[in-house]
Amino acid sequence: MAQVMMKDLNKKYDEVHAVKDVNLHIRDKEFIVLVGPSGCGKSTTLRMVAGLEEITAGEITIGDRVVNDLPPKDRDIAMVFQNYALYPHMTVYDNMAFGLKMRKFPKPEIAKRVGDAAEILGIQELLKRKPRQLSGGQRQRVAVGRAIVRHPQVFLFDEPLSNLDAKLRVQMRVELKRLHERLETTAIYVTHDQVEAMTLGDRVVVMKDGWIQQVGEPLELYGKPANRFVAGFIGSPSMNFVDVTVADASGALWVETAGLRVKVPPALSGRLGAYKSQHVTLGIRPEDLRVASGSDSADYSFDTVVEVVEPLGSEILLDLKAGPNVIVARVEPTVRVKHGDKMRLALHPERVRFFDNKTELAI
């Protein structure tokens, strides 16, 4: 059990500056997820915590020890890798016992701990097998088991579910969450999958190009993205962005572009006032759009033409065009439309976001 602190953490390779000034305080027992596109520095950050990459500048503290110069074995951490990294020449039991043997635990203690972990993960019958005799899901369980037998201070997960098929991934995700609730060990989890990040993390760290973009609870990232990148990255299908101009008409602020004109919601008009007759980016999530009915105000609705209909069963995704702007909307499965139909969409005024075109920060 321990907190992890990263202070002004930097990693430079010969040409690439992979991690830039990362500051992060991971609380004891917290499950924190680092998420971002490939090459954003999330894995490098994790590997620096693990001691597998040297730290170019900055400081990492686990518990109350600065670990910058400690070799991986002395950091009291356990790591689960994307390709499982099971030792192919050892049985499952020996795989799980390896770390304990290295630390010279007495044999009965090793047997007890491996037995306990195997029971938690439901892999008791597999203990005598070799890794190649296991399925992907079983290997993943063994890899997790190997991490938990040691009772480390921190768990590190490097995209552990990426090699599993979609169904198994969902199942293992739930199991990991349950496991964390049971073991209450600090965990750092790296993934490029925003769904995993949202469902697993107590807090989520979004990274891009080596910088932290935003740190927050999942719903905070979804509801109040700090910038355009986070807004587009979190949520699926991703947020619609439309380049619009702020205009003042009949005593209220409007944003407009070809084929689309909506009123600025009162809550935002104060901050948007500074952008009069400038370009800003309007962001609206597909789930915050609906088919307009008679009761919807004309101020918050606009006309579109249906391009593509994607029925998913529980909902329908519509690719629409409002003038030249492509917009995705998520609507009720009962909506009956086809390619070429005209349709009026209404938006949720409180859920509209605006982003500065230059800084990309939320307004």
Binding site: L52, M79, Y87, P88, H89, R103, P131, R146
Partner: protein, 293 residues
């Protein structure tokens, strides 16, 4: 292996005619061309002198088989020459130089495959380049060194010079093999509590067994068959290795003692053939670099 070769035959596309022209016939030519010298060696080794020196056009000449197989040549080898000593010399020299080369090759190959240090790439290439220097040139400076260290006509002259071509070979083969082993295995071991050396010995080396075996077998074969250094550095009959001993003691002037020569060649190749047949599975896996995890 048999399965793989079978599916290889199935890979040839097209008509039966195509298969014969592009697959079966070339393969047969290759197999016959490769195996015939061995067959010739075998027949000659067991053919009595009377048959061996029979004129080609004689009525009763049967060049491709023998009706009276005999062991007289093998007996001659052991009774009249120092063949047993040569066998022992060759074995001793080959084993020791293989062990030295494997040890160095393992460490060097691991370092080149895994550690990031300045000039690692250049070092790897230069090790390979030393392998390209032909022994027919290298033996000249080496002969000087051997003389200066007074190692001439001792097994050590070969045990210490064979690694000059074995170490680059082992290093490169093992480096290639280590690169196929996911580095996460080692990283995981290091997080699990092992030092780098321990992770190398307990995790990487056991997994690399096929690669290590093939490097070992290859190194052993190369030193077992080596001719030029052995010819140059050894002079007294009791120090010689099989390839040199057989050739220098059984060709006297322009007289070739074909029977004992071929018997010597046959007996000399048996150990190598045995080793290959024991480890053929690992050996193939080692060369194709397949880690099954």
């Amino acid at each position: 292996m048999a399965g793989r070769a079978g599916s290889g035959a199935g890979m040839v596309e097209g008509s039966r005619w195509h298969k014969w022209v592009f697959f079966h016939v070339p393969l047969m030519v290759f197999v016959v061309g490769t195996l015939f010298p061995f067959y010739w060696m075998l027949v000659t080794a067991f053919r009595p002198d009377g048959e061996l020196y029979r004129p080609w056009r004689a009525v009763n000449n049967t060049p491709f088989w023998t009706t009276q197989p005999t062991l007289e040549h093998a007996i001659y080898l052991f009774k009249q020459t120092m063949f047993a000593t040569w066998l022992w010399n060759t074995m001793f020299i080959a084993l020791l130089s293989t062990l030295i080369s494997l040890f160095c090759g393992l460490l060097a190959g691991y370092a080149l495959a895994r550690l990031r240090f300045p000039l690692a790439g250049g070092l790897g290439t230069s090790i390979f380049v030393t392998y390209l220097v032909p022994p027919t040139l290298l033996f000249i400076p080496l002969a000087n060194i051997i003389r200066d260290f007074r190692l001439g006509d001792t097994p050590w002259s070969l045990i210490l010079t064979y690694p000059t071509f074995l170490i680059p070979f082992c290093t490169w083969l093992l480096m290639g093999y280590f690169k196929t082993i996911p580095k996460e295995l080692e990283e995981c071991a290091r997080i699990d509590g092992a030092t780098r050396v321990r992770a190398m010995i307990q995790i990487i080396f056991p997994i690399a067994t096929p690669g290590i075996l093939s490097a070992g077998i290859f190194a052993f074969t190369l030193s077992w068959n080596e001719f030029i250094y052995a010819l140059v550095f050894l002079s007294s009959p009791q120090q010689k290795t099989v390839p040199v001993g057989v050739v220098s003691e059984l060709i006297r002037g322009d007289v070739f003692f074909w029977g004992p020569l071929m018997a010597g060649a046959l007996l000399g190749s048996i150990p190598v053939a045995l080793i290959y047949s024991f480890f053929v599975e690992h050996y193939v896996a080692g060369l194709t670099g397949a880690v099954k995890g």
